[in-house]
């Protein structure tokens, strides 16, 4: 089967973007990606739009059609489909777009993600984020997504697998990296004590263990068209993309403090790419909650993950750079966008254009995007040939 390349990437700034609407965010990112790829709308065979909860945040469904319309391409009748898989929507859309191009039916596709979260009060946003849980048997009874993460953390700690500090350090790393990224939601540097002592959201988790409520959009142009690949200034290859799922609710899982879907999707993506984890130079993972970051790494890297949190291994200039973008925690977490921003970051890094936070000469990135807490897992390997 043919190779699929990322020809162009684009992103908006992430944050509380009061003056920008969902449609403006989406078209900004899409336009940037198309210009970066050096192509025109006439070259695009399809648009895949990732969005988690537009129906609730801004009362808008049929979002891919809206994006295409406001990007000025409606007269081209380009098929435009929304992909939704909770907060894994971005990764899932990228995977669908990749498979469509890989199949040979489509040659060049735009895949974009957008979420406009700050048009509702934060309590309402918390409620909407909880939509990724089981509405009838979790949210109904008062569970928030953070409360589920907190119960995972409490049990994980009770089992003696890790201490508070082992996961409280992920927000510290993400903030450090975000401070070097122009599009970050947060640019402040924090310490581990700040995470542990901040105001509680769902104990033991504090505000600093949670990724923020952000607006933002990101987009990529992917293609298997040799002419376009040769014309692109710096194409980067998608080597594989694979997904796996688990029970929707934590109370139905075979294990409360592990994410078996993450192991399945990451092992599968590595195997399809013909790589082992040792050949992955950097990781972007779904640090929606600090504890979620730790458990993902336990699944992806194995038992060493906890030990690695005790050193400096995860900084951009270290042995296993992690969330060099600033992660969901500090670069921001506009739900449906996040998985695509991970791919934008990997592309920029692999091109060697990440400035201050540049990982030294990376060849392969593994990006992991997750819906809920271990429910939907999408792993994608992006690298240079």
């Amino acid at each position: 089967m043919r190779d699929v390349y990322i020809l162009g990437v684009g992103t908006t700034k992430f944050g509380e973007l009061w003056d920008l609407s969902l449609r403006e965010l989406a078209s900004e990112a899409g336009l940037k990606a198309i210009m970066d790829a050096g192509i025109y709308a006439e070259d695009v065979d399809a648009l895949y739009g990732a969005n988690t909860s537009g129906g609730q945040f801004v009362d808008q469904e049929q979002i891919a059609a809206l994006i295409a319309d406001y990007s000025g391409i409606s007269d081209l009748n380009i098929p435009s489909i929304r992909v939704e898989a909770g907060s894994a929507s971005g990764g899932a859309a990228l995977m669908q777009a990749y498979l469509a191009v890989k199949s040979g039916q489509l040659n060049t596709v735009v895949v974009g993600g957008v979420e406009k979260m700050t048009d509702v009060p934060s309590e309402v946003a918390t409620e909407i984020i909880g939509g990724s849980l089981d509405a009838e048997w979790e949210t109904f009874f008062g569970a928030t997504e953070c409360s589920i993460a907190a119960m995972i953390a409490r049990r994980h700690e009770f089992e003696g697998k890790a201490k508070r500090e082992n996961y409280a350090m992920f927000p510290v790393i993400s903030h450090k990296h975000a401070s070097m990224n122009d599009t970050s939601h947060f640019k402040n540097i924090i310490k581990i004590e700040d995470v542990i002592n901040a105001s509680p959201v769902a104990e033991p988790l504090t505000v600093f263990d949670n990724a923020p409520i952000s607006d933002g959009a990101s987009a990529l142009v992917i293609s298997a068209d040799l002419k376009k690949i040769n014309n692109a200034s710096h194409p980067i290859r998608i080597k594989s993309s694979s997904a796996a799922n688990d029970f929707l609710s934590l109370h139905d899982r075979r294990s409360v403090d592990s994410f078996r879907a993450v192991k399945k999707s990451s092992d599968s993506a590595l195997s399809l790419a013909g790589l082992d984890i040792g050949k992955i130079d950097a990781l972007e993972i779904h640090d929606s909650y600090s504890i979620a970051a730790l458990i993902q790494l336990e699944e992806i890297l194995g038992k060493d993950a906890v030990k690695m949190t005790e050193g400096n291994d995860f900084y951009f200039n270290s042995s296993k750079p992690l969330n060099v973008s600033g992660g969901l925690k500090a670069h921001g977490n506009p739900l449906g966008t996040s998985g695509l921003y991970q791919a934008v970051e990997a592309t920029v890094q692999l091109r060697g254009k990440a400035g201050q936070r540049q990982v030294k000469d990376p060849k392969n990135f593994l990006i992991h995007n997750m819906g809920g807490l271990g429910t939907t897992s999408v792993s994608t390997v992006i690298g240079v040939d």
Binding site: E127, R154, V207
Partner: protein, 134 residues
């Protein structure tokens, strides 16, 4: 605002903790399921409703400080994953206690309470919460 059937159809499950047992592998599920995730097609037509005892113990828990609008008056409130004596795990609030009394392993029992309401004129929704066993 929701229509009545949305809550009415779950009332026996939420009022009396009625789950479903797969009579093929003899596993009890709660919340109720129409297909057993272990036996899959072998379980079709073999899922029978069964009421749980209401006894359980805390498997994990959290104290929620920043919660849903509907539960704002109760903050801080305790959410727990309760391991039921009958097998299944249940996500529920622990009430009538201070958060300090809640520990992993604490024995609890189900009680029927008001859970939510939809404004002044909407439906009052009831369901289970748990209290610490004396």
């Amino acid at each position: 605002m929701s229509e009545v059937p949305r809550f009415w159809r779950e009332s026996r499950h939420r009022y009396r903790l009625v789950g479903t047992r797969c009579t093929n592998c003899d596993t009890l599920y709660f919340p109720p399921r129409v297909i057993c995730p272990t036996c899959r097609r072998e379980s079709v037509g073999k899922m029978k409703e069964e009421e749980m005892s209401g006894a359980g113990e805390i498997y994990s828990f959290t104290v929620v400080h920043d919660g849903l609008e509907q539960f704002k008056m109760q903050i801080p409130y305790v959410m727990a994953l309760v391991k039921m004596k009958d097998g299944p795990f249940v996500t529920a609030q622990i009430v009538d206690c201070s958060p300090e009394e809640v520990k992993i392993g604490t024995k609890v029992t189900a009680t029927l309470r008001k859970v939510r309401s939809e404004g002044k004129e909407g439906i009052i929704q009831y369901g289970y919460k748990f209290t610490i066993c004396p």
